[in-house]
């Protein structure tokens, strides 16, 4: 089990930035080649579409809602927030994307990005030109499948959090979900930093910032978690999972 505390970078994760035949091991698309055994030509074609971009400074927009949609990107390092702004000008946080996850997927069925993507800390990306990857996907069934899988996973995130749950269930659900995603990317499931400000967590969970902290403090008093500065340790993951079940079931 990994002991690398997100967002510190484990040497094995960044051992390789990828080469002609291997993608960065954190990348969501690495599954395409490992699982589907693409031939070398296909890999080379896919790799031609990848640009390493960044670093983006904290607070910078990676894209804005309404920008022409031309690329999807995998996060290589850092955390990206996606959000949209409603008619009243209020920001609505849609999600947080950690290394290995894809941003821009929700734009696939339109010509413009429907949301903003903002770097929360220093962010580096792998950028895939979308029109080209879509054309390539028609030739590579594995890639097509992976794109669809990622797309459905992205939708899942948004829906599961719109359910009406108690503050405790929401916060527990948030921690368990994030822990699982980090573990899937080679980070420690038990200890990680909350790289997103609490106002964003609160907005995402549709709670007041003070409520998020109050619940976290109570979890800490109950010895379910330990919080040091921005770092959280899940001391009773099983208990939190039970609490989060209502939210994670959907």
């Amino acid at each position: 089990m990994s002991t690398t505390v997100f967002p510190s970078i484990a040497p094995e994760l960044f051992r390789s930035d990828g080469d002609e035949f291997r993608f960065c091991s954190t990348c969501a698309f690495s599954e395409v080649c490992t699982a589907e055994g693409l031939d070398k030509n296909a890999l080379r074609d896919l790799h031609m579409l990848v640009d390493h971009v960044g670093p983006f400074a904290p607070g910078t927009h990676i894209f804005r809602a309404g920008d022409a949609f031309d690329a999807i990107a995998a996060v290589r390092s850092g955390t990206v927030k996606t959000s949209r702004v409603d008619r009243e000008g209020r920001e609505q946080v849609l999600g947080f994307h950690i290394p290995g996850e894809i941003i821009g997927l929700s734009a696939i069925d339109g010509e413009r990005y429907p949301s903003n993507a903002i770097a929360l800390d220093e962010v580096q990306l792998c950028r895939f030109s979308f029109p080209k990857i879509a054309v390539l996907a028609t030739r590579l069934p594995g890639l097509q499948k992976q794109l669809f899988r990622l797309l459905s996973r992205d939708i899942g995130h948004a829906e599961r959090l719109s359910a009406h749950q108690s503050a405790d269930e929401r916060v527990a659900g948030f921690l368990i979900e994030l822990s699982g995603r980090l573990a899937a990317r080679g980070f420690s499931a038990r200890r990680f930093q909350l790289t997103m400000p609490r106002t964003d967590i609160a907005n995402y969970l549709r709670l007041a910032p003070e409520t998020v902290s109050r619940v976290l403090r109570r979890f800490q008093d109950e010895d379910r978690i330990a919080v040091r500065k921005r770092e959280v340790e899940l001391k009773d993951a099983a208990g939190l999972k039970t609490l989060a079940e209502a939210m994670l079931r959907t």
Partner: protein, 400 residues
């Protein structure tokens, strides 16, 4: 005057003028956004102004408090408020102090629990027993006296008014020919049994004449006081002593507090603010402080952003000052370093202490033996960054 500032990490000498008001504002706003935002300690350093200027300077203090208070979220609870001494030899401005304490209660969310600490260091002000009732009614529950002011009538008034903790500050000059010179003052103070005692050498140098602290410590321990850390002692029932037993102490620019891991907001001339990984200091001259506030600005004039190395060393210094150990496992866990590799030079520096048995290596922690407590400050200094050229000092002190 910040008695403890020489002990802090990073030391105030690291502050530079490249940071200021804007950095302070964004540091405070960012500190609201921690998963569990830290509690707050507030320190007020009213300027030592002439009688005619005092009122307008207090008005400026109110303005400064107002500018900062609006940056903080409403769940940032203040667990500690401390007023630094007004060294002026005049009657204490009780009415102005009461207004200031009330302003803090209105502008901030002051903790309601009995553990909150609202303290006043009387300094060289003249205090009447009647003043103490007014202070207690405004929420003050702790008073610190200079030793030469400590008298039974004041202490009785304080205890009758419900002041929970009484402190005494005794300064002594290391330039005096013999340590014995301090003993009459010390004994006079001990007879009144203040809850906390700070006994401090006046030489600004970080070096301590080794015989004296030892002498003072023995005397105080015989009188039933618990050693808290360099210069600081408390009776066993006092919150400081309790916090010391339960690893809940924090050491800051104004000495020890029983509230670990608070953000510190400083108001007034030369006040130090420490919010997350940002430290800053207000203008130390009263004119710059006034000008900044009169123009609607925060008077933060210099400061620094802590690096990961700073955070690690600052934590280590806290371990030493508050627990007299270096908890290696905790530092490695919290900072992701291999302790012995990271600090090999510092540990080599401490070799004579290990040899003499003053410091003991238990593997996952390094413990400072009680014999070596008088050198705690010097041991901590070994862990300041880039200090190797200066720490020959420790060897010299040990040879005394």
């Amino acid at each position: 005057m910040l008695p403890a500032s020489r002990d802090l990490y990073p030391p105030a000498t690291r502050f530079h003028t490249g940071v200021g008001e804007a950095d302070l504002r964004s540091a405070i706003l960012a500190s609201n956004d921690d998963p569990i935002p830290r509690q707050l300690a507030i320190v007020l350093c009213p300027p030592a102004s002439s009688a005619s200027e005092q009122e307008s300077d207090f008005a400026r203090m109110h303005r400064e408090i107002d500018l900062v208070a609006r940056l903080l979220d409403r769940d940032r609870v203040v667990v500690e408020l401390h007023v630094e001494p007004l060294d002026e030899g005049r009657p204490l401005a009780v009415a102005l102090l009461r207004e200031l304490a009330e302003a803090i209660q209105l502008q901030f969310h002051l903790c309601n629990a009995p553990t909150r600490e609202i303290s006043l260091d009387v300094g060289s002000c003249l205090l009447k027993p009647a003043d103490i009732g007014i202070l207690a009614a405004s929420g003050f529950n702790r008073i610190v006296f200079a030793a030469d002011q400590l008298e039974l009538s004041l202490l009785d008034a304080a205890r009758a008014a419900g002041i929970r903790s009484i402190g005494a500050r005794i300064g002594y000059s290391e330039a005096q020919p013999s340590g014995a010179a301090i003993l009459p003052t010390l004994d006079a103070a001990l007879a009144l049994r203040p809850d906390r005692l700070v006994v401090q050498g006046i030489l600004p140098d970080s070096r301590v004449c080794p015989g004296w602290p030892e002498l003072i410590r023995t005397r105080l321990q015989e009188a039933g006081y618990v050693y808290i850390g360099p210069d600081h002692y408390a009776l066993p029932h006092d919150e400081l002593a309790v916090a010391s037993r339960t690893a809940g102490l924090q050491f800051g620019p104004h000495g020890y507090t029983p509230h670990a891991d608070c953000d510190l907001l400083g108001f007034g001339v030369g006040a130090i603010t420490r919010v997350g990984g940002f430290h800053s200091q207000n203008a130390s001259d009263v004119t710059s402080w006034r000008n900044a506030l009169d123009a609607g600005h925060l008077p933060a004039q210099r400061g620094c952003h802590l690096t990961a190395d700073d955070e690690l060393r600052a934590d280590l210094v806290q371990h030493l000052y508050c627990r007299r150990v270096i908890a290696i496992d905790e530092l490695e866990r919290d900072h992701g370093v291999a302790f012995r590799r990271y600090f090999w030079q510092e540990l080599a520096q401490l070799a004579p202490c290990f040899t003499l048995g003053l410091v003991v290596d238990h593997g996952n922690r390094i413990e400072v033996c009680s014999r070596a407590w008088p050198w705690l400050r010097n041991i901590a200094l070994c862990f300041h960054a880039g200090i190797y050229d200066r720490t020959d000092q420790l060897g010299q002190d040990l040879r005394h």
